[in-house]
Amino acid sequence: MAKSEIRGKRKRKQFTGSDEIISLTNVSKAYATGAPALNGVNLHIQKGEFVFIVGDSGSGKSTMIKLLLRELVPTSGEINVMGYDLVRIRHRKIPKFRRNLGIVFQDFRLLKDRNVYENVAFAQRIVQVPSKDIKRNVPSILATVGLAGKYKAKPRQLSGGEQQRVAIARALVNRPSILLADEPTGNLDPKNSWEIMKLLEQINENGTTVLVVTHNREIVNAMQKRVVTMKKGVIVSDEEKGVYIDED
């Protein structure tokens, strides 16, 4: 146990030497049928960045997220996330790698039979955090996302915005270095969408690298962050303080 902790620290220390937290080099991914989903993608993201990835369906966004989660392996190219070589990583190391990522989905994916507290504590139990630490961490993270008073509620008793906050709390409770949000506002009204985006921005200001895949033009244009635009499996533009480029 002690050995792996030391190893973990050493890895993180090594990693802080470089500021690049995500790097995709000439990454292509082809499925058995049809055109390649990704075609020679190069993307480098620094620690602490806030990046929007935009594009229509079929542009390769979902494939990119799956590659970053190591759900898929690229057909060719190199992917490096937090010092982990995702092409050559051993199967049994994948869980440990994923503990560095927090993930938020469009459809929240909360456990409907468990209350807010249990949904968040669930993430801590999975990585085997001691019970006494769970009791301290969960209320604190629920306060951060503004749900301190609702820890007993079941997901169906919450609004969409509140459910997404629970999902964000669950993604953050294990203190990941990177937060991946796949269409986090896709099921929310404009007011709730803004609140969630503000929350993500606040999380980013506290040091977490945030990657948001979205369709929401209004938010992308207003937030003045780095915008990576994808089309048919390639990156067509990558701009600091970018805007949502219209499809022609």
């Binding site: 989660l69 049994r92 994948i94 869980p95 440990k96 790698f97 994923r98 503990r99 990522l101 993930i103 994916r109 456990l111 669930f122 993430a123 139990r125 999975i126 990585v127 085997q128 001691p130 019970s131 669950r170 294990n174």
Partner: protein, 298 residues
């Protein structure tokens, strides 16, 4: 593994059991049926073997001598018999003892008419065997020994006993093997349904960074619990039934009980309980492991 993780895993395993009640019940019923039959056959075989053993001890080969044989030759033959590995013990029955026995058994008071022993040449060795199956070899040997006139044997009884014993063993092993396969299949199905019901939860667990072990163990525990419950129920039923059946036989077939000696319930249950629970848990482990390895590669 942390203690809290251990209890969490056990708790999730129990929750799984209640989550798909009907499949759990079906699995428990099949394992129960399988182990009930196992217990039944075990009880029958154990008793049958006991009966055969007792019967075998009673099966003997009788050797009669040539007329006018000397006492020394009889003793020499006795030494030869003692040297044979098949023999567990032998008894010498003199002509007088043979006549006394015959009189008592068949003639009663009518025996007074005889003044001489009509069985004068009927001295014999009664030989008891270690194992009934060794009887033919011994008989062949004895027939070749000088001074032996006649070898009497009870071949029918001997071969029937060994044959029936083997038949029961084969049939029961066959039936139990089939039931085992069915049980493993059903448990693996139950666990698979559990997995599909919790698909969403499992996918979230994987994203958060749960290890294979953490995702899989609740399902394996579910399988083992089903196996253990499935084992305890039939063992309990057999315990109650066994006493009742033995009691019934003792009362209704009292003449048989002199021939048949039954084992007591405790003699049987020491082994039956532990073997059944082990098999139940083993079936559960196997069935769930197969599914979990197939469907839960994280």
């Amino acid at each position: 593994m942390r203690i809290s993780t251990f209890f969490y895993t056990i708790k999730q395993g129990c929750i799984n059991i209640f989550r798909n009640k009907w499949f759990t019940l079906a699995s428990i019923a099949t394992i129960g049926a399988c182990l009930f039959l196992f217990g039944l056959f075990y009880a029958i075989i154990a008793n049958f073997q006991n009966i055969v053993k007792t019967a075998q001890e009673g099966v003997s080969v009788t050797v009669f001598f040539d007329e006018g044989i000397s006492q020394e030759r009889i003793e020499e033959i006795g030494t030869l018999i003692d040297k044979r590995p098949e023999v567990s013990k032998k008894e010498f029955i003199s002509a007088d003892e043979a006549w006394e026995g015959f009189k008592e058994e068949y003639l009663g008071e009518y025996a007074d008419g005889f003044t001489e022993n009509p069985l004068a040449d009927s001295a014999s060795y009664e030989i008891y065997l270690n194992d009934v199956s060794m009887q033919p070899a011994l008989v062949t040997y004895l027939e070749g020994v000088d001074g032996i006139r006649l070898v009497n044997r009870s071949e029918v009884t001997a071969s029937t006993l060994t044959g029936v014993n083997a038949l029961i063993a084969y049939v029961s092993v066959g039936i139990i093997a089939i039931l085992f396969a069915v049980s493993i299949f059903l448990i693996s199905n139950t666990v698979m349904i559990g997995i599909s019901v919790r698909k969403e939860e499992i996918s979230i667990m994987k994203y958060i960074g749960a290890t294979d072990f953490f995702v899989r163990s609740p399902f394996v525990i579910e399988g083992m619990l089903i196996g253990a419950i499935g084992a305890l129920i039939p063992v309990g039923i057999i315990y109650v039934l066994y006493n009742k059946v033995i009691e019934y036989i003792m009362v209704e077939f009292s003449t048989l009980t002199q021939l048949l000696s039954f084992l007591s319930v405790d003699e049987i249950f020491g082994i039956l309980l532990s073997v059944s629970v082990l098999m139940g848990v083993g079936i559960g482990f196997l069935g769930s492991m197969i599914t979990v390895r197939k469907h839960l590669r994280v």
